[in-house]
Amino acid sequence: MLNRTLNISTSPHIVKGLGTDDIMQNVVWALLPVAIFAVYSFGISALMVLVATTAACVLTEHFLCRFSKKESTISDWSAAITGLLLGLTLPPNFPVWMAFVGGVIAIALGKFIFGGLGYNVFNPALVGRAVLQAAFPVAITTWYPAFLEGRFSAVSSSTFTVPFMEPTVDAITGATPLSAFKFDQVITPASDLALGLITGSTGETCALLILLGGIYLAARKMMNWRIPVAILATVYVLSGILHLIDTQAYPPPLFMLFSGGLMLGAVFMATDMVASPITPLGVVIYGFIIGLLVVVIRIWGGLPEGVMYAILLANAISPHIDNWIQPRVYGTSKTAKAS
């Protein structure tokens, strides 16, 4: 038995055992309740959207890997996350063909061109959504109220639009809390917001479930809790100050926190590890920038919602944050910084 050939490798010879695919898989688990609630509140139309984006992302990932003669990387679950997230940011009545296009773009433009998992400098799902928003601005801002009768028996008229054709718009459309505020100065009660009794993108309506998913991931150390905390705190404080200055013109901070895609963005999008800074301080700065941009765009900008743009812009800044904020290496002077 002492004549067996030994294996040699570099230390350490033991690993903690938590794999990248485990992390990704857990993110999917954390997203599932949100997705299930989406289907519950918006019916099969929402399910169609989610299935379309997820399938598009996974298939695109697979075929692009084949195309570049690499091993398929769909088994790391990251494409599934992208697809699910993208679906959750789209309106429930979004035409399926557009959702599919969005998924393809998210993976191809948001991930593949940078070299795949680990190199995407932007959150792929948000890249997909940004392109969709720019390409089909009407369809992506046509909302559909939650808890409609018959949502499980029929899809909305726009869901199965013929590919490349304009969707037909239902008579029943709703306004999201943010656009209701922006254009009509109507403030939706915070309880409705938290419980998801509102109009909005499939996955952004139930803030409580999103928070629960986030807490699960943070507890299992699969997500950097500092990011959502920094974002939400920034939004709360900034909008709180504004609200104190002028209660009429500026919405209450809780409304800002729970409306629109902020929760989903802060918990699941901004925390994309690859596109966010790596150091604790850097992460807080990153969160602050997102919060600031969200408040600025929502309150002074032309658009009712700015979470997507805020995160994309912060993604673009995060290499700089990583450059500026390096951990102080043990034994180096406190003032000297890595250049």
Binding site: M1, N7, S9, H13, G19, Q326, G331
Partner: protein, 449 residues
């Protein structure tokens, strides 16, 4: 002194690998049988190899000088057993390089009596004499680094040492050598501390022990000789607490400057087993012949802490304790920083603190390496606050100069925390070791040209 004992301060970051110390920490140190043939490389320590002073065919007694120190940063080597010099030739070493060495054939065990040398009296000897004595005894850091102890103890001109730190942390999983030494050789340890205090001129000594060895801490605390300026401090369990720099930060809150030594913050750190060895050898003027080695790991049948003569071949050791049929990996040292053995013909050397054996079923090496997802686990693990994620990416793209200049590559001491936690299973430590060797090579060629 004891006033501050409640302060369980520690260093930043670090990891908590499973300890697995319960297998052996209750087993007393036992004498290991003498191997019929032992192999003694001349480079058992960092620094110049020892120079052989015997010839082939010569008979030597146990404790007799076989090789003298090859310079200041070098130590002599003594015969671990009585026997005949069979051959002087190349012998394999753990580093993979061949080194000059001695093949020593043992006499029957009955004749193994130890030669006495010139004792060094701690009361009368000067610091210089003690340092000389330590070198003559062939003592190197027994914690694993194998750096000649007398060099480490020498306080350079213009610097002072106020604290002598005895390192009883033993943060590597599986290993219990120091634990047993502290339990069984308290007297030697305190004798050793006496020599060390004198040699360094330090005012006090602190013995640092991790909280998982509370029994050892209590035992030492109770055995402190009256009036000795020694205290025992217990620190929380965290890897790599046993690293000198981390220990200094934990116990004193001082930070050793980048590229510097503990003496730069007026501290000298000595491993507890080394201290015990000094306490045992110097009063008799003997040279080091054997050391305590933990033989453990899931692949070992008779696990334990053994007193093994230096030079005993690994093959013989494993043969004696019995190993799993499916033996797959053998590490010298612990699993975090130990070196994988490629060849069982190498022998136990002064720096060998443990042998960990894994059978095939015990090795959980992930098959797939994912790209870095910048999760930051390594950043949170690195005890010296490097950015292993960035360093890893730079290494992958061979930007070695940038790693060294902007990201403090050379400060990395390869503790393995980053690789241990990496969810993508990127061989970070290997990248860094490779990068460091290339940077060193480049710097050397830059200097020469």
């Amino acid at each position: 002194m004891g006033l501050f004992n409640f302060r369980k301060s520690t260093f930043k970051h670090g990891v908590h690998p499973p300890e697995h110390k319960e297998d052996t920490n209750g087993l007393p140190i036992r004498q290991f049988p003498f191997a019929p043939l032992i192999i003694l490389p001349m480079s058992q320590h960092i620094g110049a190899p020892s120079q052989i002073v015997v010839r082939e065919g010569q008979e030597v007694a146990r404790g007799q000088l076989l090789a003298k120190a090859g310079g200041y940063v070098s130590v002599p080597l003594h015969a671990p057993i009585s026997g005949t010099i069979r051959k002087i030739a190349n012998v394999p070493t753990i580093s993979g390089k061949m080194s000059v060495g001695i093949y020593l054939e043992a006499f029957p065990a009955s004749s193994q009596e130890v030669m006495e040398g010139t004792p060094i009296d701690v009361e009368t000897a000067t610091a210089g004499e003690i340092l000389q004595g330590i070198q003559d005894a062939g003592i190197v850091g027994l914690g694993g680094a194998a750096f000649p102890t007398h060099v480490k103890l020498k306080v350079p001109e213009g610097k002072t040492c106020d604290v002598l730190m005895i390192n009883g942390i033993e943060c590597e999983p599986y290993l219990t050598t120091d634990h047993r030494v502290m339990l069984e050789q308290a007297e030697d340890i305190f004798t050793g501390i006496k020599y060390l205090l004198k040699a360094t001129g330090a005012e006090r000594a602190i013995i640092g022990i991790e909280a998982n060895k509370q029994d050892a801490a209590d035992h030492l605390e109770n055995s402190i000789p009256a009036g000795a300026p020694v205290s025992v401090q217990v620190v929380p369990v965290k890897y790599p607490q046993g690293s000198e720099k981390m220990l200094i930060t934990s116990l004193l809150g001082r930070e050793v400057p980048s590229g510097g030594l503990p003496i730069d913050v007026n501290v000298v750190v000595v491993n507890v087993a080394t201290t015990a060895e000094i306490g045992r050898l110097l009063p008799h003027g003997r040279g080091i012949q054997e050391r305590v080695v933990t033989i453990t790991g899931p692949g070992v049948k008779k696990k334990g802490n053994y007193l093994i003569p230096i030079g005993t071949p690994l093959r013989y050791v494993l043969d004696q304790v019995g190993v799993d049929e499916q033996i797959s990996e053998v590490y010298m040292g612990g699993p975090m920083m130990g070196v994988a053995v490629s060849n069982l013909d190498i022998s136990i050397v002064k720096g060998t603190s443990g042998i960990v054996v894994f059978a095939e079923k015990d090795v959980k090496r992930p098959e797939k390496v994912y790209p870095c997802i910048k999760c930051g686990a390594c950043v949170d693990a690195c005890p010296i606050s490097l950015n292993p994620s960035k360093l890893g990416i730079l290494a992958k793209f061979e930007a070695y100069d940038e790693m060294a200049e902007a990201f403090h590559l050379m400060d990395c001491f390869e503790c393995g925390s980053c690789s241990y936690v990496c969810p993508s299973h990127i061989p970070l430590v290997q990248y860094f070791r490779l990068s460091k060797s290339i940077v060193r090579k480049r710097n050397a060629s830059k200097q020469s040209s």
